[in-house]
């Protein structure tokens, strides 16, 4: 027994490796990558991520033995006054679950990227940037691991900002491309700054926690929450809502979701890894981690649930009006994140994590398959342009696709699996996780249930629309005509992810609830998940009806050509245009926040700073000069005048002295 315990504890103390293996990968690639060639770089990076995954698996196995987990301290980071912060790794079922998802999906995406980036760097004409991509990707894994393994709020914040940085770097990876040459760079900046707004909320929450709880350690803070909830409910409300602001930034919820669709400017593996599977779920993870605080203030829970539900519906509507294959998936991600956030708000944290995991599988799958489609289209574009000459179609526009099913059969199958999983069709993963959230809503909050069902309907509908537009019908462009299936390096990870998307429901299968029992060592579980047959059947029916409707609209009579209008454009009229233009939210922010800020900054910089403040200073200068100008007239330059004034002065003084007596 003792021996076993020793082995277990030594396993737990491996946890820093989940961060340091990717860091090692960065260093190796940074120092030697230039000499290694693409295969070498890709292997090092993938091995680093894979190593993290192996360590996570070992941790999980050790946790099976000892559910308590461990805290592994590394060093004291900041110790000033009352503030005493150390970098401590927290090993418990929740953090290890996240580690598994991050490193597992991450490793697959690393492998996929070797093939994808090989093509992409050549397509973009910068083969040397291959290495940089993998350094950034490893950096992301390291930062995400810091986030999920943190034992206090500040270390979590470190990871939180770290992944934001990676997101910035990777969105702007092709920083000289995009709309007007600056499109990608602008998208990256938008992502970082929007996230910073969220981080502002998180920072304030951290300050509030520190000064009212006296510590930033998770365990110590959570212990005190019940007492504080009694005495200062307003404080907890403030903390949780400020934290929610952070969540809306990172997890792309209303009102800060606007960066995520633009983030699709990054290479497709990035969209899959960071902007679908892992980073954007950090907000959900944060709320699950701090569930004790949310559960103590029902008001905040209500707000959270509504933010999530409305986002789910709103983003679903926008997704319906998009033509860019990645934009549809981006809005779908926002919508699904809304489901997770709503689940946390409903007190169904396990369902949120469940959906987080399955979503990571099928959304990564969808993005990567979309990437495969785009690669195929780019191939077709190049092959086609040989015959036709300089005619360029956007390889991401679904109106240019059609009939890809026959050209890229593997991609089609895996895409279909992903789409069905997302739509919530039994027996794919998404069905089970989404069902759990719907059950929680049904039991907790009827209006939210209705909103979520509507969102689920939209999900199935827009996925049906997408699959039908991309894969069915006839090719609507040369690129689509000449599209070609991608290489094995690309398709094998897809198949693995597809398998996970099929089997993912098994994580928390009704009746068995593995995940719930696993997480109950870490989380409080207010009500155990139930499987309610009518709801399950109902949601399945909703999804099926939506898909059938999508077939009626898009399948029976495919788009005639790339210029044809969407069949919904006419019946929905202006509403479809709104959806297509994303309800003008970006324009609204531009008009309400960005534009005025720019004007204000200009106003401060020129009229105020240069004009008033510097003007006052220079004004004093000129005042002195003009006064002196008046006084200089006294200096005639004639020595005799000066002599006279001295004489007169002496006389005046003498007169004063003599008459004073």
């Amino acid at each position: 027994m003792l021996f076993q315990e020793a082995v277990m504890n030594s396993t737990f103390s491996l946890v820093p490796l989940v961060v340091f293996l990717p860091v090692l990968g960065i260093l190796l690639n940074w120092l030697f990558g230039k000499r290694l060639g693409e295969k070498g770089i890709g292997s090092i990076a993938s091995l680093a991520a894979g190593g993290s995954f192996v360590v996570s698996v070992l941790l999980a196995l050790a946790l099976v033995q000892n559910h308590e987990g461990a805290h592994i301290p590394l060093f004291t980071w900041i110790s000033v006054g009352n503030l005493d912060l150390s970098w401590v790794f927290r090993v418990d079922t929740l953090s290890v679950t996240m580690m598994l998802v991050v490193s597992g999906v991450g490793t697959l995406i690393h492998i996929y990227s070797i093939g994808y980036m090989h093509e992409d760097v050549r397509h973009q004409g910068e083969p040397k940037r291959f290495r940089r991509f993998f350094i950034f990707l490893n950096l992301f894994i390291a930062a995400m691991m810091i986030l999920v393994s943190a034992d206090n709020f500040l270390m979590m914040f470190v990871g939180w900002e770290g992944v934001g940085l990676c997101s910035y770097l990777l969105i702007g990876f092709w920083f000289e491309k995009g709309e007007g040459g600056l499109g990608n760079a602008k998208a990256a900046k938008k992502a970082f700054i929007t996230n910073r707004i969220g981080d502002f909320g998180l920072l304030i929450a951290i300050f509030l926690i520190f000064w009212n709880f006296g510590t930033l350690n998770f365990a110590e803070v959570f212990e005190m929450v019940p007492a504080v909830a009694q005495t200062q409910p307003g404080l907890l409300m403030a903390i949780t809502l400020f934290m929610l602001l952070g969540v809306t930034g990172k997890s792309a919820q209303i009102p800060l979701y606007v960066w995520l669709p633009d983030a699709m400017a990054g290479p497709t593996p990035v969209s899959a890894l960071i902007h679908a599977a892992t980073m954007v779920t950090a907000g959900v993870y944060l709320m699950v981690r701090t569930q004790v605080m949310y559960m103590a203030v029902p008001g905040a829970q209500q707000v959270v649930a509504w933010v999530g539900a409305i986002t789910a519906l709103f983003a679903g509507l926008i997704a319906l009006g998009q033509f860019d294959i990645k934009k549809v998936l981006a809005y779908s991600t926002i919508s699904q994140l809304g489901f997770m956030v709503a689940a946390v708000g409903l007190g169904a944290e396990v369902a949120a994590i469940f959906h987080l995991a399955t979503h990571a599988f099928f959304k990564a799958l969808l993005f990567l398959s979309a990437g495969s489609v785009i690669l195929g289209m780019e191939h077709g574009l190049e092959a086609g342009s040989h015959e036709q000459g300089g005619h360029h179609d956007d390889p991401q526009d679904m109106r240019n696709m059609g009939g890809i099913r026959k050209k890229m059969p593997i991609t089609f199958v895996v895409y279909l699996i992903g789409a069905l999983a997302l739509a919530g069709i039994v027996p794919f993963a998404g069905f089970f996780s989404k069902d759990e959230i719907l059950v929680a809503a049904n039991q907790g909050n009827m209006p939210i249930f209705v909103v979520l069902v509507a969102a689920a309907f939209l999900t199935a509908f827009y996925m049906g629309r997408q699959v039908l537009m991309v894969f069915f019908g006839d090719a609507r462009s040369d690129a689509a005509k000449h599209a070609k299936e991608s290489s094995l390096l690309v398709t094998v990870p897809l198949m693995i992810l597809a398998l996970l998307s099929v089997l993912g429901g098994g994580l928390n299968f009704p009746g068995v609830h593995t995940l719930e029992h696993w997480l109950e060592h870490t989380l409080e579980i207010p009500h155990a998940a139930e499987f309610i047959l009518p709801i399950a059947l109902g949601s399945l029916a909703v999804a099926l009806v939506a898909i059938f409707l999508a077939y009626l609209v898009y399948g029976r009579k495919p788009l005639a050509n790339a210029k044809a209008a969407d069949p919904l454009a006419k019946p929905l009229g202006i509403f479809f245009r709104w959806m297509n233009q994303k309800f003008m939210v970006d324009e609204l922010y531009q008009a309400v926040v960005l534009g005025p800020y720019k004007k204000l900054a200009d106003f401060f910089a020129y009229p105020v700073d240069q004009g008033v403040i510097d003007g006052l200073v220079n004004g004093m200068g000129s005042l002195t000069v003009s006064l002196a100008g008046a006084l200089r007239k006294l200096q005639t330059g004639f020595a005799r005048t000066y002599a006279l004034s001295i004489f007169v002065g002496i006389i005046a003084i003498l007169v004063y002295l003599l008459t004073r007596i």
Partner: protein, 99 residues
């Protein structure tokens, strides 16, 4: 002789000196007027020294004479330097410090 005579002569000399400094333009004449003022002061010193029978005043006179001699040396040197560049010692022409 009454004290008043000496003081009157001193005052007269001083006034002449002041007027000379203020009214004349020739630098040499101004110098001489300055000397006149010094000597007016010296006369007062000597007068009172003999009146009160103390030596301090007389010693002061020596000081004044020494300083005046040094000052004249510097002043005349300046004068020569100015004359070399300007070919004139009219001090009204030396007004480059006019503001």
């Amino acid at each position: 002789m009454p004290l008043g005579y000496f003081l009157g002569l001193s005052a007269f000399m001083f006034t002449v000196g002041v007027l000379g400094v203020i009214l004349r333009r020739n630098a040499l004449v101004i110098f001489m007027s300055l000397e006149l003022m010094f000597n007016a002061a010296n006369l007062v010193f000597v007068t009172f020294a003999s009146y009160y029978q103390i030596l301090t005043g007389q010693i002061f006179v020596f000081f004044v004479m020494a300083v005046a001699a040094a000052e004249v040396a510097v002043g005349l040197a300046l004068m020569v330097a100015i004359f070399r560049t300007k070919r004139s010692i009219d001090i009204d022409q030396m007004s480059s410090l006019k503001g």
